[in-house]
């Protein structure tokens, strides 16, 4: 299993605008690495550069420690699954799966044996003689997977492989791909715009925006302490609630919209250069205000919309001209239009510098959550 290393990698098409800017990342061998970002952020371009389908404008690509900038795709020992699967429509499923072996002139008998093994693993045995157009979306997806893994390439690249499937199948295939990767131990680089896929599948994820790395880390770390407001908005559904705050240095607190004041440790306060900050909180950390709560962190809102999902309840309200969400465990009987007294959990706040958008204060109750997860 090979590692993939990108060092100061740039990509430009017109020598003016950089589509991928100065990307530095080492993808460990055997890792499930997810590239995630909104459409047009350069994640597919990055993947195609690793595959060798696009040239690298500047920087170095190393595969298994060896420089691979100018290697043709076939010499990089990788396989790829495309968004539209790129199955050959005129060939049977069997021919599609064995295409890569046939190219390498492996004997027909061996091809068939390998094909049967993999078809069995992916539940495709009875479809081997069919043409791709006679298969459902999920089956085509499996054929594409089979074709990618039959060559035993140490690296597998996937470009939004689940985006053409319906929601239920997608959830199923997420687990299936993850299990497959674990079983084969291959290095898998996975591109998606869906943060749920990123959260649930990756060993590590890399959030990209406008060609630049925003954050790299374990999904849960990225979720808990997003490095900047973009990541905070992008990862998590519904997104993190963000608002601007003013730093009051004398009183050691941050005021939000002249309504709430968050007490801040004076030591931390010294680290804050700018007087304006962005304060964020995850929807699940907004609580219903109890009688003995700290008054300076509670506020009253009118509920605009409510979604009861069975295990949790999603509440939407307007606060200071922006849409905010709260997410509570259980089923809550709340009327739309009703007023509620809410409060922020002051230990769960993310505070960013408004100018540099850097994370200044991380939520401090993450540890508690980690322990709780461990027990479950």
């Amino acid at each position: 299993m090979y590692s993939v290393e990108l060092i100061n990698v740039d990509k430009t098409y017109d020598n003016k605008q950089l589509v991928v800017k100065d990307v530095n990342i080492t993808i460990q061998s055997g890792e499930f690495f997810v590239l995630v970002g909104p459409s047009g952020c350069g994640k597919s371009t990055l993947l195609r550069m690793i595959a060798g389908l696009e040239g690298i404008s500047a920087g170095t690509l190393r595969i298994d420690g060896k420089k691979a900038n100018h290697l043709p795709p076939s010499k990089r020992e990788l396989s790829m699954v495309f968004q539209n699967y790129a199955l050959y429509p005129h060939m049977t499923v069997e021919d599609n799966i064995t295409f890569g072996l046939d190219v390498k002139k492996i004997r027909k008998k061996e091809q068939r044996k390998k094909c049967n093994d993999i078809a069995e693993m992916l539940g495709l045995t009875e479809y081997l003689k069919r043409k791709p157009r006679h298969l459902s979306g999920g089956q085509r997806q499996r054929v594409a997977l089979a074709r990618a893994i039959i060559t035993n390439s140490p690296i597998c690249l996937m470009d939004e492989p689940l985006s053409n499937l319906d929601a239920k199948l997608r959830a199923h295939m997420r687990a299936e791909i993850r299990e497959l990767q674990r079983k084969l131990g291959i290095t898998l680089i996975y591109v998606t715009h869906d943060q749920v896929e990123a959260m649930t599948m990756g060993d590590r994820i890399m959030v990209l925006n406008e060609g630049e790395i925003q954050q790299v880390g374990k999904p849960i770390d990225v979720y808990n302490s997003p490095a900047n407001p973009f990541v905070a908005k992008f990862i998590g559904s519904p997104p993190m609630n963000l608002t601007t705050g003013l730093v009051n240095r004398e009183k050691h607190h941050i005021t939000l919209q002249d309504q709430l004041s968050i007490p801040i440790d004076p030591m931390v306060l010294n680290n804050i250069e700018n007087n304006k900050v962005i304060v964020g909180i995850r929807p699940e950390n907004i609580e219903i205000s109890s009688a003995n709560s700290q008054a300076n962190l509670s506020f009253e809102v009118k509920i605009d919309h409510l979604e009861i999902l069975g295990t949790e309840t999603l509440i939407k309200f307007k606060w200071n001209n922006s849409d905010w969400y709260a997410k509570w465990h259980g089923q809550w009987n709340i009327d739309v239009g009703q007023s509620l007294q809410l409060q922020l959990d002051k230990d769960s706040l993310c505070i960013y510098d408004e100018h540099t958008e850097k994370l200044i204060v991380k939520p401090s109750n993450i540890q508690k959550q980690n322990v709780r997860e461990g027990i479950i």
């Binding site: 389908l53 795709p73 005129h90």
Partner: protein, 308 residues
């Protein structure tokens, strides 16, 4: 009460038939333009040809004596018609495969993503815009025994010049070369269109698998192009069977009937020899030939065609 229901039913059926008539009438009206055009230019001439093929005619083409199958018997025994069939088959054999192979080659070249490829695409398809008469005249100059550029080229390399259009062995080849050149534009354009319809991801996937250019060509491009190629082959075959203009301008069927293709032979029979009966019989024969070839092609050729 009973009367009322009966009355209602009656009006209902009346309305129904009335509406059906209105629908039918408007449908016919919509179809009328093409029906008139087809009737005047296709169905009537076809019927008339079939009719004439059973008659002896006078010089004005008026049917005089009913002779039954005699015209057919005559053309099937006539040596000049045998020669004509043989020339036509050879001509089809020369032009269709060569033309399509060249067009495919040019289309593959012009399908590459290169700077200025639009220029070459325009050039390669430009023969579509040249009329048969104009291009035949151009080739007449090229083939000219002494002044023609072809013989001058041969002479400059030190070869002996060839009487392209005047030698019985070369005349058919020369007409075939002209025809291939004229047909390339059309075939090229259609094949290029087919190539551009092939999903780029298929090639990328093949590239990652390590497939070389010719492997991709054999296992992806050609199969994906098969519907287009099938269409081009069918149209080219029919066109080749119906060649007339270039023969008329370049050789007039000569020398010694070596380029007397069927359509030209029909023309001579009817408008030079005034034998409208036998000319009609030849036309029907040609029609059946093309029909059979096309049916055979659909029956056997289409099996290898992959439709999306």
């Amino acid at each position: 009460m009973k009367n009322a229901t009966a009355f209602q039913e009656k009006t209902l059926t009346q309305i129904d038939t009335k509406w059906r008539f209105v629908h039918w009438r408007s449908a016919i009206l919509y179809l009328l333009p093409s029906m008139i055009l087809f009737s005047v230019f296709l169905f009537y001439p076809l019927g008339k040809t079939l009719y004439l093929s059973f008659f002896l005619t006078d010089q004005q083409g008026v049917a005089n004596v009913f002779v039954g199958w005699e015209n057919y018997q005559y053309i099937l025994q006539a040596e000049s018609f045998h020669k004509s069939i043989k020339a036509t088959l050879l001509f089809v054999l020369y032009t269709v495969p060569t033309g399509i192979l060249i067009s495919l080659f040019l289309a593959l070249l012009a399908n590459e993503k290169l700077k200025g490829v639009g220029f070459f695409r325009t050039i390669y398809s430009s023969t579509m815009g040249v009329s048969v008469a104009a291009s035949a005249v151009v080739w007449l100059f090229i083939f000219h025994p002494s002044m023609g550029i072809l013989n001058q080229l041969i002479a400059s390399v030190g070869g002996t010049s060839i009487d392209w259009l005047l030698h019985p062995d070369w005349a058919l080849v020369s007409v075939a070369v002209t025809t291939i050149w004229m047909n390339i534009g059309f075939s090229f354009l259609i094949i290029l269109g087919g190539l551009q319809n092939v999903d780029e991801h298929l090639y990328e996937s093949a590239k990652i698998s390590g497939a070389g250019y010719f492997y991709q060509l054999r296992r992806i491009t050609i199969p994906m192009l098969s519907p287009t190629l099938f269409f081009v082959v069918t149209v080219s075959l029919i066109n080749a069977f119906q060649t007339f203009g270039q023969v008329d301008i370049l050789t007039q069927g000569g020398p010694s009937e070596s380029t007397n293709l069927i359509v030209y032979s029909i023309y001579r029979e009817a408008f030079v020899n005034y034998q409208f009966g036998t000319a009609s019989a030849q036309s029907i024969f040609l029609f059946l030939c093309i029909l059979i070839v096309t049916i055979l092609q659909f029956k056997f050729g289409e099996r290898k065609v992959h439709y999306q």
